[in-house]
């Protein structure tokens, strides 16, 4: 059955509690899977938010956007400017980033939603590429072009100065005295993730969410049933853009640097992969997809040729060389090859993604038990 089901209050509360516990204890259990360090956990939370938000558009309405990374970029630049001009406190950075990416999403969504299907996808892609190119060219005064926008020690930061907050060394995000690095950085992201997850749950369990799925299911029927689909689609687009803006802001909050590469089409494509890999239209699937991809990216991209030689050293030398030649295109910088293959396998054998695999597995186990 689809995502909107008359899930009970009890079930929702329980899932929310489990979710919160799992997220808050990540530094503990992360160790056992080799993810016990803050940089990676931050990525899990940030890309998880990106994917959860993206799924509200793609998963519920079926509208495939190929340009959501543009909002990631807008969120990042906004947060960086909030750091530069106002304060190193992440709260205003988050607020401004979410608002501004929402405004841009409203404009881009308004135009793109004049078309459906492949034309909609192409319009969003065109907007994102435009944003990416502008960031490198005429917008250089705002984006600092190729170098990327850095937060510097002698930036004005009027609020911090007025309040007499001192910055020693290179500036980092500072939540009322707590520096946004390491695990405290993760916990800031984690709290945003929990809020984002809760909001997504509300969307999924609301009449609004049901109507979004109905649009995906049969837009014609919606129109002849008295609904104007356009504002629903636009609202979903804006909400997902705001999630992306939040994710972009968090990237800057844990590492005060914003670059245009964040808006490249590959970044837009990655969130599509995460969503599909985890399970389109499911509440938790996209987050799982994001975690899986970032986890394996971390492992595969760290492997280099000498590492491979060590791995295969038990083989005779000529066989070792062959093995290394075959495997090396898939690791290190070639990690995207692995991702591509993984993605193909999922699309062909398990179009419902990891969530479908879990569903099938539990059904199978139940049957085995009789």
């Amino acid at each position: 059955m689809d995502s909107v089901n008359p899930s009970s209050k009890y079930k929702d509360t329980l899932s929310l509690i489990i979710f919160i516990v799992v997220v808050l204890t990540a530094p503990l259990w992360g160790k056992f899977i080799g993810a016990g360090y803050p940089d990676l956990l931050q990525k899990f939370a940030i890309f998880g938010l990106f994917a959860i938000g993206y799924n509200i558009l793609f998963g519920l309405t079926g509208y495939l956007s190929f340009g959501h990374a543009v909002f990631l970029g807008i969120g990042s630049y906004t947060a960086a400017w909030s750091f530069k001009l106002l304060t190193m406190n992440p709260v205003p950075a988050v607020i401004f980033a979410v608002l501004l990416s929402g405004i841009f999403a409203a404009a881009i969504g308004y135009v793109s939603l004049k078309r459906t299907g492949i034309y909609f996808a192409i319009l969003t892609l065109a907007f994102a590429q435009m944003g990416y190119n502008l960031a490198y060219s005429v917008l250089t005064p705002i984006t600092n072009g190729e170098t990327g926008l850095r937060v510097l020690r002698d930036d004005p930061r009027v609020l911090d100065n007025a309040l007499g907050v001192q910055i020693d060394g290179s500036p980092v995000g500072n939540f009322f005295g707590i520096e946004m690095t390491g695990y405290s950085g993760y916990y800031f992201c984690a709290i945003m993730l929990i809020l984002g997850f809760y909001l997504a749950m509300r969307v999924f369990r609301s009449p609004f969410g049901m109507k979004l799925i109905a649009i995906k299911s049969n837009q014609t029927r919606m129109e002849y049933t008295g609904y104007n689909p356009r504002p629903y689609l636009l609202a979903a687009f804006v909400i997902s853009g705001m999630y992306a803006g939040l994710a972009g802001a968090l990237m800057v909050i844990v590492d005060p640097l914003a670059g245009a590469e964040r808006m490249q089409w590959t970044a837009s494509g990655e969130v599509v992969l995460m969503t599909i890999l985890g399970g389109v239209g499911t509440l938790i699937g996209p987050l799982i997809g994001a975690v899986v991809i970032k986890y394996f990216e971390n492992i595969f991209s760290a492997i280099n040729e000498s590492g491979l030689h060590a791995t295969f050293s038990f083989l005779p030398e000529w066989l070792e060389n062959i093995a290394v030649t075959i495997v090396s295109p898939f690791v290190g910088d070639g990690w995207h090859m692995t991702l591509g293959v993984l993605f193909m396998i999922v699309i062909i054998f398990m179009p419902g993604g990891i969530m479908e695999a879990i569903r099938r597995l539990t059904a199978w186990v139940k049957r085995m038990r009789g």
Binding site: D2, P6, A214, S217, N218, Y224, Y232
Partner: protein, 255 residues
């Protein structure tokens, strides 16, 4: 005495390329009556209903409903909100959603209008709406399968579901495009009973139907369409005996 017409179709023409699908259609539907449109396949019956719900814009003519011209730049959702619901010839439902949700969605459209940002409400707290939806599913004999996917229903059941989706909106005008096609005899009879019951409630209906048993059980007035033109109209008894109708449509079948 002035008759009270719910729908007034005047001088409607529609061509597709070289094909004259509707030529100078004039048709008035009285408040609270059931108006049947019969005619052979390809006569233009569905096309006529399409012009009533802004699925098609006629080349000329007007369709007045509730003081508005439905052909004059109205949107499909705007027309529905005025009180026109339609059961399509090919069932239009939400295949991925449960039967219950399928029926709740039209009810929400009726209650909350064409757009409502109800993101912070819980669907599960809409008890009244759920009860109402169950009531309509029950009326159509679908209550037992309220939580299965609508896409898995048989064609006849999909049609009944669509009927429930339209009826829950209490439309002022209900358009039914072959509502019993693909239904077993038993279900057809059940549908006739249901439509009779609604009639007592005063709902105005236009029904396209091939099954003459259904037509003569329900219709107050019949228009016969052939090759895009109305070739006869009148009370059921007039139509039964009409020579042109026998020739064009009814053939030699015993009525």
């Amino acid at each position: 005495m002035e008759d009270n017409y719910v729908l007034e179709i005047s001088g409607v023409n529609k061509t597709f390329g070289g094909l004259k699908a509707l030529s100078d259609i004039n048709l008035k539907v009285k408040q609270g009556t059931t108006h049947a449109i019969i005619g052979p396949n390809g006569a233009g019956k569905s096309t006529l209903l399409n012009t009533c719900i802004a699925k098609l814009v006629p080349d000329s003519g007007s369709i007045m409903f509730a003081g508005q011209d439905l052909t004059d730049g109205m949107t499909p959702h705007g027309i529905n909100q005025l009180g026109v619901s339609r059961v399509f010839q090919t069932p239009e439902i939400f295949p991925e959603l449960s039967l219950l949700n399928n029926v709740m969605i039209p009810a929400l459209a009726k209650r909350d209008g064409a757009f409502k940002f109800d993101l912070f409400k819980w669907l599960r707290n809409e008890n009244q709406l759920q009860d109402e939806a169950m009531h309509y599913l029950d009326d159509l004999g679908l209550a037992d399968s309220s939580d299965i996917r609508a896409g898995s229903l048989s064609r006849g059941d999909k049609r009944r579901l669509e009927m429930a989706m339209c009826l829950i909106q209490h439309p002022k005008l209900l358009l039914l495009d072959e509502p019993t096609a693909g239904m077993a005899r038993h279900d057809t009879n059940r549908t006739i009973e249901l439509l009779k019951k609604i009639k007592e409630g005063g709902m105005t209906k236009i029904i396209i139907e091939h099954d003459m048993h259904v037509v003569f059980s329900l219709a107050d007035h019949i228009s016969v369409l052939a090759q895009g033109a109305i070739i006869a109209e009148g009370k059921p008894d007039d139509i039964k005996g009409h020579p042109k109708v026998r020739e064009a449509y009814l053939g030699t079948a015993e009525l």
